[in-house]
């Protein structure tokens, strides 16, 4: 497949990724034929080609059962970003992060590599205190300018606490799931499959809701 990123955009991204500190790995799950799998794979290849601190490993969702289990991959196309110690910090993307969503992907790469996320000390302390499993799903569309902010916040929470897992879900790729979760406005944030937030909420709003969960 030809490159997905236009030359000009590639250059922009290459220059941004120069700020990366440590290496990161992307583990991408596909069956090479699912809806938007080819494009997602190509995008990841394009991005990994822009900076040698990014390595890309492609796994077959049907065959690489151990990896699917290890990373608890529930749908494809989907990927996990690991830090320089190959540690899973709970950051997931399901569906292609194109359109506006390229921004949540780029900031996840930068922050996973050690670039400071500038969360304030109080917020950081509140995140660290969480000691129960928290699963955050952020539903997005690619034409939504407010969505990357919500995904970025959710991913930041995950990176700071091993109890938290956060997943961007591209609503049009996962239409059936969006229907089940009654998504008709984005960004829609669903915590532990039950608690909902709407919009690009600040970290405080995520934490206030998480605190309420028994």
């Amino acid at each position: 497949m030809p490159k997905l990123l236009p030359a000009e955009v590639s250059e922009q991204i290459r220059s941004l990724l120069e700020s990366m500190i440590d290496p990161v790995s992307i583990i991408y799950f596909t069956d090479h034929k699912c809806s938007s799998c080819l494009e997602t794979g190509q995008l990841l290849e394009d991005i990994a080609g822009l900076n040698n601190k990014i390595s890309l490993v492609v796994k077959d969702f049907a065959k690489d059962i151990d990896a699917v289990k290890q990373y608890d991959i529930r749908r494809i196309p989907g990927f996990v970003i690991l830090d320089h110690e190959q540690k899973d910090r709970g950051v997931r993307f399901s569906g292609i992060p194109a359109g506006h969503e390229i921004n949540s992907f780029l900031s996840a790469l930068l922050e996973m590599s050690g670039v400071d996320s500038e969360l304030n000390a109080d917020i950081l302390a509140r995140i660290k205190k969480i000691a129960k499993p928290i699963d955050i799903k952020v539903f997005v569309t690619l034409s939504c300018p407010h969505c990357p902010g919500a995904v970025q916040t959710a991913h930041r929470l995950a990176m700071q606490n091993p109890f938290i897992r956060s997943e961007m879900i591209e609503a049009q790729t996962f239409q059936e799931m969006s229907r089940v979760y009654k998504v008709s406005g984005v960004p829609k944030i669903v915590i532990n499959d039950k608690y909902e937030l709407l919009g690009d909420q600040p970290p405080e709003s995520f934490l206030d809701l998480i605190d309420k969960i028994a």
């Binding site: 506006h100 921004n103 780029l106 300018p145």
Partner: protein, 321 residues
């Protein structure tokens, strides 16, 4: 097939120095203010949650001089690269949590805890979507009630949606939605305020119809929008109008929460400015949709930003700051 809108900026180094001019807000007002301030030789930065502001909520712009029908994302890119060519630092993805004036300096506290100091400040935080303020609106938020057509249009494929409002943004949203929805009805309580050129375009789209002089009284539905209760103001008849969703495009409310203690606001909570964009507080200027001016347009916001920067430059010269 896929396009990519890269907005992420390189992390900005912490700058302990005092700025001459900070443009607070990354919409047309803040960006143009920063451009003018930088050209005057002021030590300048833009401080904003995002770049582009409300321009991000629309697909194309047809009334900015020099560009007929430009993609809104492209217009933002042009603004941002113009600033880039002058090396104006863009401190983005930050929210300002508090502003204080101590002596001649403004202290801006970011949500990260970082404090940035400046001698003059341009308030250009724009506006957030205005609510209809009717029963059902809050409860059905994200369940068929939306304030962003570009974000949520895909969920209304082959459905019937209502757009509330009668200005340019309502008409533009209706046209964006008509590409997905089976049918779009624009409902507005009085006459159209939108530009004639837009209305001419609207006329040609088969799956949009219009109900003027019609007030929305309530949004109905159990766990999703099912109808809106409307009143025809000419006949005074009230009826239920079935719809799968409603997009509310009735203008904005100014983002002035941070300025309530600092500057004089009018009854609509807009910042009052004089002909120099000066507010009631020395060194504080305001421009664009946050101010008490009646026309919410990109070119007006940009022009006010320019005026504010020139006034700030004069003020700094006069005061010898």
């Amino acid at each position: 097939m896929f396009h990519f809108t890269v907005e992420t900026k390189k992390p900005s180094p912490v700058d302990e120095a005092v700025y001459d001019f900070i443009a607070l807000g990354g919409g047309p007002a803040g960006l143009n203010g920063a451009l003018y301030a930088k050209r005057k030789g002021l030590r300048t930065a833009v401080l904003a949650y995002d770049l582009g502001g409300q321009l991000k909520n629309t697909s194309s712009v047809d009334n900015y001089l020099g560009f007929d029908n430009i993609d809104a994302g492209q217009l933002i890119d042009r603004f941002v690269s113009h600033l880039g060519s002058l090396d104006v630092p863009l401190i983005t993805s930050v929210r300002v949590a508090a502003i204080e004036k101590q002596g001649d300096l403004f202290h801006l506290r970011l949500d990260s805890g970082r404090v940035i100091k400046t001698k003059t400040l341009l308030a250009a935080l724009g506006g957030s979507p205005r609510k209809l303020d009717v029963p059902g609106e809050e409860r059905l938020g994200g369940k068929g009630v939306s304030y962003c057509a570009t974000c949520d249009a895909p969920f209304f494929k082959d459905k019937h949606v209502v757009v509330a409002g009668g200005g340019n943004s309502a008409v533009e949203s209706a046209m964006d939605l008509a590409k997905w929805a089976s049918h779009v009805t624009i409902i507005h309580r009085s006459k159209f305020r939108a530009d004639q050129t837009l209305l001419d375009k609207l006329d040609k789209i088969a799956n949009i119809d219009v109900r003027l002089e019609t007030q929305i009284l309530e949004i109905l539905g159990s766990d999703h929008v099912e109808a809106v209760m409307i009143k025809d103001k000419r006949t005074e008849t009230v009826s239920s109008f079935p719809a799968d969703g409603i997009f509310i495009e009735i203008g904005t409310i100014p983002n002035t929460a941070l300025f309530i203690e600092l500057a004089h606001l009018n009854e609509s909570k807009e910042i009052i400015v004089d002909g120099f964009q000066q507010t009631s507080l020395e060194g504080l200027y305001a421009a664009g949709d946050i101010t008490a001016q009646p026309y919410r347009q990109i070119i007006i916001a940009a022009a006010e930003g320019a005026k504010a920067a020139l006034s700030a430059s004069n003020y700094l010269n006069k005061k010898g700051l």
